[in-house]
Amino acid sequence: MSQELSVSVWRSETNAFQEFAVPAQDNQTILDVVSWIQANSDPTLSYRFACRVGMCGSCAMMVNGEPRWTCRTHVKKVLKSNSLQIAPLRNLPVVKDLATDMEPFFDKWVEAKGVFQGTKTRHDAIEPILPDTAERVAASTAIECINCAVCYAACDSVSGNADYLGPAALNRAWSLVNDVRDGAYEERIEAVSGTGGCHNCHSQGGCAKYCPNDLNPSASIAGLKRKTTRNWFGWGRS
């Protein structure tokens, strides 16, 4: 690796990429590169991050055309001809430079009935949930989402249909339709059956390829397709 990286960063004011030279380090993440530029080259550069350890889901960007969590993406892994291209996430409005407006993404979580609807009160006994039941195993496959919107940016179905709920929201819905403690199964199945629902998915698998937590929203959406089809025929839940 040479001593300086050639980095193209998307700037919203000029609607074009701006070139920066950034000192190369042995261990360096994409977020380190962006932070170096903001601290040393151009303090007006806007971007978003919080935890720096892959938990908060704030720092995702397009790196060389692929969506990635930048705090856990090492430069060495993605460097091409000693250069990097860094842009805001696809499929979301840009607030400024590398910071996207996440509101449409989270609105769709609400539309997909992504809020847990408990059926017990604090006065009820805690319900034992056995971890090896089929429902709990299915729910557990989908619960480690950090809301980074990497899958949303990878998805061409989202690009093609503004109403499509997207892989993250549907993955959340899959987790909840398998949660035996939840009391909103019918509402949720209805929510994911509509015009923006799971049947818009073209099974391209970009969500599963790029999910930084190795989740598989494609599998969750296929599961929702089975559940909604069963519901349409009146065949019950499982």
Binding site: M62, N64, G65, E66, P67, R90, A153, A154, D156, H202, S203, Q204, G205, G206, K209, Y210, N216, S218, A219, A222, G223, K225, R226, T229
Partner: protein, 115 residues
């Protein structure tokens, strides 16, 4: 050029299914028109059959059979994915569908050129 976020096997499987579907939709009206010549103009149909002896027509037919087989086998993969319990072997299934389509279309082509 394929954009970087699309450069993976299941996106290519999606695109093959889409392109083969559109190509077959364009082909089928022509196919039915030619079949209808059997009733409306048998002499023209015989002339058309003579055209099918041309090697380039046979190569084109090989492509058509490949697209038809790829669409059928790829469609079976998608139906299995959406109706049967999930399997993580989707890339293997997609590759198998393409290999199957290639085998079917090659068999057709060998049969066509050996007659």
């Amino acid at each position: 050029m394929i954009r970087p976020h699309r450069n993976h096997p299941l996106w290519l499987a999606f695109m093959l299914h889409r392109v083969s579907g559109v190509a077959l939709a364009l082909f089928l009206p022509i196919h039915f028109y030619v079949l209808a010549l059997a009733l409306t103009d048998p002499a023209a149909l015989n002339d058309f059959f003579a055209l099918t002896e041309n090697i380039w027509v046979k190569i084109t037919e090989f492509g058509l059979v490949f697209l038809l087989a790829a669409h059928m086998l790829g469609g079976l993969r998608l139906m299995a994915m959406e109706w049967l319990p999930w399997s993580d072997r989707q890339k293997t299934f997609a590759a198998t569908a393409v290999a199957g389509a290639f085998a079917i279309s090659c068999s057709f082509f060998l049969s066509a050129v050996s007659l």
